[in-house]
């Protein structure tokens, strides 16, 4: 029903040349609980794909199956042209970073980073220079002699990243890598990880429940819910063209209006008739309209465009750079809308609760979902 085409082919296609990781038909049950059902996904070479969803949606299980830490009940995983579906973790090719860092507490930072290198029987000099290179890469060149317990959470996570990258794996897996950090460190580190990932062009899969993190870091986002993929798309597509009501609700704030389709590209919300950009709906069908708060235009001083609706400001919630403005539309049986307005606009137009205004709801910004 969506107007927007899916950017990724999610059918059982054979992997293309650009595909690095091909996941097909992955199903996993824990007893009666269906953790994953028929998951199909392709990840391109050098791409950063984020699995986003609420807790229990199966995103971490999918990551652990890709890593060979859990076993799928059915389905195949092809990495770089090699079928790894049944390989134990130790035979696969990836580096992994966990929320808990999982640094070995009794080994120095140097030994932690060198942990996987020592096992490959590389020369000592080679190991030394590789460790130095990696510590430089994550911005902690002088910390080799320290123990993990002496470092902050953000520093420990950088070390965990260095350790995961040390053996130059083809695939980097990040399991909620920023969730244990405080807000400021989280924002700083997500920029660093993204920059590093692009510089090394390492194919990366990250799991998170934080939509802001997903939007800011991903090449593509895979929104998951209840063991299924809801939508796959670039951050922009996910945000501005949510494919399902779940995605619309889960990613960003959104207004939802229940409506009845009418003929001529219009629909009825309570006693109001609104223009929508979607045509061809059977009149009388129940539909839902989704509209982002920042798409609502507020006109305080008479000069409103044609079709603007009268409304009253119910409240103004100050959030710093932005304000959330609650709007009561004039009419019977109509919902309260929330608009997101820059502070300067609120101040300039003198928006305050009780003020009567006119608002415009741009038809092209209204998503119609079933």
């Amino acid at each position: 029903m969506s107007l927007h085409c899916r950017p990724v082919n999610v059918s059982h296609s054979s992997p293309t040349e650009q595909t690095f990781l091909h996941v097909a038909g992955i199903t996993k049950r824990f007893g009666k609980f269906e953790a994953l059902r028929e998951i199909d996904l392709d990840v391109g070479r050098g791409e950063l794909v984020v699995f986003l969803g609420p807790s229990g949606c199966g995103k971490t299980t999918l990551l652990r199956i890709i890593a060979g830490l859990e076993t799928q009940d059915a389905g195949t995983i092809v990495q770089d042209g090699r079928d790894v579906s049944r390989l134990p973790a130790i035979k696969r090719d990836y580096g992994i970073v966990f929320q808990s860092y999982a640094l070995f507490p009794n080994l120095t930072i140097h030994d932690n980073v060198a942990y996987g290198l020592v096992n490959r029987r590389q020369g000592r000099k080679l190991i030394e220079s590789r460790v130095r290179e990696l510590l430089m890469l994550v911005g902690l060149p002088d910390s080799g002699a320290k123990y993990p317990g002496q470092m902050s959470g953000g520093q420990q996570q950088r070390i965990a990243l260095a350790r995961a990258l040390a053996t130059s794996p083809g695939l980097l897996l990040l399991d909620e890598p920023l969730s244990a950090l405080d807000a400021i460190e989280r924002v700083r580190l997500r920029g660093e990880i993204r920059a590093l990932q692009q510089r090394l062009a390492v194919t990366t899969v990250m799991v998170t429940h934080d939509q802001e993190e997903a939007l800011s870091m991903a090449d593509r986002i895979v929104v998951m819910n209840a063991g299924r993929i809801e939508q796959v798309g670039t951050p922009r597509e996910i945000y501005s063209a949510p494919g399902t009501p779940f995605v619309a609700d889960f990613v960003g704030k959104i207004n939802m209006l229940t409506a009845i389709a009418e003929s001529g590209g219009r629909c009825r919300v309570g006693s109001l008739s609104l223009a929508i950009a979607k045509s061809g709906l059977v009149p009388g069908t129940a539909i839902r309209l989704y509209l982002r708060p920042e798409e609502i235009g507020i006109h305080a001083n008479g000069a409103a465009p044609a079709g603007a609706l009268p409304a009253r400001i119910a409240k103004v919630e100050f959030l710093g750079a932005f304000c959330l403005v609650g709007l009561e539309l004039a009419g019977d049986d109509v919902p309260v809308l929330v608009a997101n307005v820059p502070r300067q606009v609120v101040d300039g137009a003198g928006l305050a609760s009780g003020l009567n205004v006119r608002i415009s709801l741009p038809p092209e910004a209204m998503r119609v979902l079933g």
């Binding site: 029903m1 969506s2 999610v10 059918s11 199903t27 059902r37 028929e38 998951i39 199909d40 890593a67 060979g68 830490l69 076993t71 799928q72 009940d73 059915a74 389905g75 579906s85 049944r86 390989l87 134990p88 973790a89 130790i90 035979k91 696969r92 990836y94 580096g95 992994i96 966990f98 808990s100 860092y101 999982a102 070995f104 507490p105 009794n106 080994l107 942990y115 996987g116 096992n119 490959r120 320290k146 123990y147 993990p148 317990g149 002496q150 350790r163 995961a164 040390a166 053996t167 794996p169 897996l173 299924r228 993929i229 809801e230 939508q231 494919g243 399902t244 979902l369 079933g370």
Partner: protein
């Protein structure tokens, strides 16, 4: 808008997919299975033999419950069930309040000397249970200094058993209650304070409920200990019959293994019951404790601190008087006639009489138990907690690891004779060897050590193994490079626990030793029986000294490790 995946009809599930096993997984799984087999062989099979023997007559013919009927029809034997229960209950009712007040003083007061008072209270653990019995005989026996205090009653009998058992079980109860009180959350008291709760109400609404499971657990441990202990009633029990003595009489005295098996099963019941109660409490004790709890910091209160200090001093003094009397007895010529200092009990009584060899046997056994026991127990706990797959074998192994706590030592020992002395058993060459003593002792003390290992392993990050696999490092390398070093304090603790207990154990080994593998605690029993009280006390003193040395060495080693090889831990704390 549904995805194409979810619109697909539900396809019939293909056969469950499994990962191709790596040889390292096979290695871990093989070790896991081998451990299962080992515990089945050295724990389950002997116990099964007791069950079989209890429903057979002497010629191995199945007689159903005939043996039980005969046993219960003997008034003297029936009486020993009742005796065992009331004596054990009395000991429990005396020890738990004593230990609770002591633990309360250590955690909730600001009295001085807490460190010393704690160490003194734990000293009975270092001594064989027989030591207290010998000491009480010296104090209250026919020639005793304090005989008049009993007012004509005899120390030989229930009074002596209860007093000696109180001494021997006090530290066990104290440690459990102490842990329960230490786990309490200081914030609860702060909230209560802010709500102006009176002290007595804080005690009944916060302290007591918080320590509830600990108290029940302590009671169960004390009860089981007293029910199962054989050394104390043997020395000080006189003609007072209890179950543990009955088994001994049936097996050693009358060579009636079938009757012994019957008594063993009866003895197993109360201990099993106590174990089940304790086990169900353990889970709740830990569930109650939140990781973010803030430790309680006591405030000064002169009257309360002084009275608590006085109480602890009196208890400590009494404990020291018991230990002191045994040591004193070993250094004088003959109590109470010739109290001049003498080493004759050591030189003549132990060395010249050749009994000293049993002390070296004990040392040898304790070292083997500590060494092999620690390796096996920690290894099994690691395989259980940190390797993947084999859920069935793991459940079986968890159950097997918990079982020894529910089995009295005498029952285990009896099972060992029945199983390993059986002519058809290919392993019967082990009977009467040092090996079987070591195995029986490891199994007997398995559960506590296993729990220590599991707790230490659970504290480690669960993803170490996953990270190692991603770095293609074999699991055993990570085991030796990370798991063992990080768990070293717990591993040493297990070793010390096994050593100290192996030095004093008697009930599990009393059926299993041979003249060449006689152990120190058994020698004490035999010397006491022969009237060589001085020499028996000298042997007990040697055990206390060697266990003390091991504990001191453990304390020094732990401190050394914390400051040297475990720099990271110190770094973490700073």
């Amino acid at each position: 808008m549904p995805t194409s995946a979810s619109t697909l009809p539900a396809v019939p599930m293909p056969a469950r997919l499994t990962l191709r096993a790596h040889w390292q997984d096979r290695l871990a799984q093989g070790l896991l299975l081998a451990s299962c087999v080992a515990l089945a062989l050295f724990l389950l099979a002997p116990l099964a033999m007791i069950l079989i023997k209890s429903v057979q007559d002497k010629d191995g013919v199945f007689v159903g419950l005939q043996q039980f009927r005969e046993y219960l029809a003997t008034p003297a034997l029936k009486e020993s069930i009742w005796n065992t229960l009331w004596v054990s209950t009395s000991v429990t009712l005396i020890v738990v309040p004593l230990a609770f007040v002591y633990a309360y003083a250590l955690t909730r007061s600001c009295m001085r000397g807490k460190g010393a008072l704690r160490v003194i209270a734990l000293t009975p653990i270092l001594a064989p249970s027989l030591l207290s019995a010998i000491s009480f005989i010296q104090w209250f026996g026919t020639q005793g200094l304090l005989k008049f205090m009993l007012g004509g009653a005899s120390i030989y009998g229930p009074i002596g058993i209860i007093m000696s058992a109180v001494y021997a079980t006090f530290p066990h109860a104290l440690m459990i209650v102490l842990t329960a009180l230490l786990l309490s959350d200081g914030r609860l008291y702060e909230v209560a304070e802010s709500l102006r709760t009176p002290t007595w109400r804080k005690f009944f609404t916060i302290t007591l409920p918080g320590a509830k499971y600990g108290l029940v657990s302590a009671a169960m441990v004390v009860f089981s200990y007293t029910v199962s202990d054989f050394g104390i009633p043997k020395v000080i029990g006189g003609n007072f019959n209890i179950l543990a003595i009955d088994i001994f009489k049936q097996v050693i005295g009358q060579q009636n293994f079938n009757k012994g098996a019957v008594v063993g099963l009866i003895l197993l019941l109360p201990v099993l019951l106590a174990f089940i109660v304790d086990w169900s409490m353990q889970g709740r004790l830990h569930a109650q404790f939140s990781a973010r709890a803030v430790p309680y910091v006591p405030k000064r209160s002169p009257w309360f601190d002084t009275s608590m200090f006085a109480y602890c001093c009196i208890v400590s003094l009494l404990l020291l008087l018991v230990l002191g009397m045994a040591i004193y007895t070993s250094f004088i010529k003959l109590w109470p006639y010739d109290k001049s200092f003498s080493l004759r009990h050591y030189t003549y009584g132990l060395i010249d009489a050749g009994v000293i060899s049993s002390f070296f046997n004990s040392l040898e056994m304790a070292l083997y138990v500590a060494l092999f026991g620690t390796i096996f127990i920690f290894g099994v706990a690691y395989l259980l907690e940190k390797t993947r797959g084999m859920p069935l074998a793991k459940s079986a192994l968890r159950l097997l690891a918990a079982m020894p706590m529910a089995v009295p030592g005498m029952v285990l020992g009896l099972g060992y004779i029945l199983f390993f002395n059986h002519p058809d058993n290919p392993l019967n060459g082990m009977y009467h060897t040092m090996t079987i003593l070591v195995l029986a002792t490891i199994v007997h003390y398995y559960t506590s050590s296993h729990l220590t290992a599991v707790t230490a392993l659970k504290a480690l990050d669960n993803e170490f193994e996953a990270v190692s696999a991603s770095l293609k490092v074999p699991f055993y390398k990570t085991f030796f490079r990370v798991t063992v070093p990080v768990c070293l304090p717990a591993i040493l603790d297990i070793g010390r626990y096994l050593f100290v207990n192996a030095m004093v154990t008697i009930s599990a080994v009393v059926f299993l030793y041979s003249p060449t593998t006689q152990l120190a605690a058994v020698a004490i029993l035999n010397m006491d029986e022969a009237g060589e009280v001085g020499a028996a006390a000298a042997m007990a003193t040697l055990i206390v000294v060697s266990s003390t040395l091991v504990c001191v060495a453990y304390a020094l080693l732990t401190r050394f490790l914390l400051t040297r090889t475990q720099q990271w831990r110190v770094a973490h704390a700073s």
